[in-house]
Amino acid sequence: MTDNAERTLDDAPESAETLRPRPGETPEVPLFRQGTAVARPRARAARRSRTQSPGEPVIRAHRFSLYYGSKVGVRDITLDIYPRSVTAIIGPSGCGKSTFLRSINRMNDLIPGTRAEGRLEVAGVNVYDKRVNLVNLRQQVGMVFQKPNPFPKSIYDNVAYGPRLQGTRSYGKLNVVVEDSLRAAALWDEVKDDLSKSALGLSGGQQQRLCLARALATRPQVLLMDEPCSALDPIATRKIEDLIDKLRDRYTIVIVTHNMQQAARVSDRTAFVCLGELIEYDLTETLFTNPSCKQTEDYITGRFG
């Protein structure tokens, strides 16, 4: 990311970052609490020190393995992901980062022949339990994909899709949710006049933010991001990262990334996965400055992978 881009963003108006209480909504419980008005690297460092004492973990994996038929996706993963923090998963291609991420909301079920072992809990419930209601799970665990994939519908309909699934029909309520979600995704000012236009007319970065808004509209606890910036240019990437920073004290965010700088910039904790196994999991600062494994050090210094 260039200095120029940094400056441009720093100078950008911050109007989207303050959430006005809306009529008909209890002002003391805003739908989406915004982050501090300015979230910059210095502030991030300060936050990172604050997240040293995590609460009860939201996602717990205990000896979790997932197989594609006879092929191993991930094996014996044991890690705790803490609420209101950003957890990055890094590792070489094909190592199982995305597989693990997609296990959390069971999107792997789309691939025939998958089989899970061990425990993977979200808010205390084993998601691979047969009794788990997939619809509820996926509404609690939102997901943003690698490539922006808005529906070929209007911007409004894209954001309202989740709430409508949950049974919200009244346009009064939908309008509130759509506006709040778009504001939370810092997209409102750009699209507020074009809500009925097709989402496919937006730029790539805008589309990805729209996907984020769409995921936020179902009011999830956990937000999974599968390489959300890999298809975006540096400026759009920066915007997404700023958003992650703003959303971090409201949501539990798990982000898979190829980009180690990005992991270092946005995450509180980082997990390094290699060949389907968890190699190291620690505070981001620790992992990047003082890794305890040789393999991790080799990877982050670029000697392998």
Partner: protein, 476 residues
Amino acid sequence: MNVPRRLLADRGFTALSFVSVALISLVLVVVLVPMIYRGATAVVFRGTAAFRQMQFEMHDRGDPETVQAELAEVAKARAPAYDLLDRFGRGIDTEHLEDEARQVYQDVGKDLERQGIRGDERLEARRLARALRDALVEAFESSESDAAHERLAFVLSHENDDRIRGTSGERFFRMARDYGDLLKTVDLGRRDEYAQALAEVQDALTRLFGPRPGGDRSPLAMYRYGATRMDMAERALDDFLFAERWVNAASREALVRQRIPREEQFAGTPLAAIFPMVRENVEAMLRPRLTFYWQYLLDDSVPGHFFGGVGPEILGTLVITVLVLPVVIRASEEAIRAVPPAYKEAALALGAGRLRCFLTVQLPAALPGILTGVILSMSRAAGETAPILFTGAVSVGPALSVFDFGETSSGWFDWLFEPTRALSYGSYDLAVGDRVAAMVPHQQYGMVATLIVLVLFLNAAAIVIRWRISKRLRGQ
């Protein structure tokens, strides 16, 4: 070919196709507008009393008392016209008068027998009756006024003759007096001319009012009722009020059509009064009322035998549907498969079930492709006339053995399966004004118009929907 020339050719080709599209549209408009208009008038029109009578008698629609009351009213309004016609007809059409005279002569014979008169007296009486009869018949047959009057005078001179007093023979004198009165108004020299015109008038009146009440009724429904609709009635009225003659205006020129008011044609006769009478009272005589007639969709068409049953149409449609189904399915499959899997993933990640995901995301995205398949298949189906030929393409004829239930038929659904016309042929007939089409009492143009409008509307709607969806999908 160099680039500018190719460009020119390309533009020319584009222009040509636009012109052809415009031409086709124009032709469609020229052909369809009259047909659709006729179709509309078949559904909404001013129905006369005869229409309601037909509906009641053929389809059991309407309240019997109301219909009967209306028919009685109408008959009352028409009665004076029929009276005039009869009175004049007696003077012109004398055959029945001659028959009556002969009948009276026979009655005289019977009366004499009953009175017990025998011998010479009886012979004398019969001779006189025969002479009177012959004189009357001669008078009736004569086309010369003087001769006729002479014969009538001869008859009347025997009015007080004792020989036939008290028998039916007295009717001779009444007939002679009546005919004498008639002769004052009728120019016997023009009797033939009148006879021909009278036949025309009677024919037009039958088309207007239907057959005379109490007369013979045709087994064919198309001859059984008068004008059922006001537009038809107006045509019949025109024939009734005006005679059409082709006259040679100038030698070696084409004949010229002339419209002669019948009032002029019959000027000076008692019949002349009938024309203003009918013209002014036509509303009372026909009682037209604005009618919305949709039941043609249900009508049993046996009497008209023009459109046939609905069954073959439906079966043909089904057969064609089955024929084009593979094309539609294939196109839909491809279209659904072409939807990016990312859409499905996104929907599922938001908590949609599979069916919900399909209905709200995949299907809308695939709709343009599916519609393309449907439109193409519809065009193909339109060309598939073979199944139609098999299931029904004739309007009159024996039913196919498949539909022939013979003795086992319970009857009520027979009309469903009787032979029917292929739409293309039927609409052609309608467009060019086929004779049968014009005479079917309930012109069912509506059915054809409905079908055509339906097909056009479906096509147009599909094209518009496809256009809009693809525009939205392109992100405009």
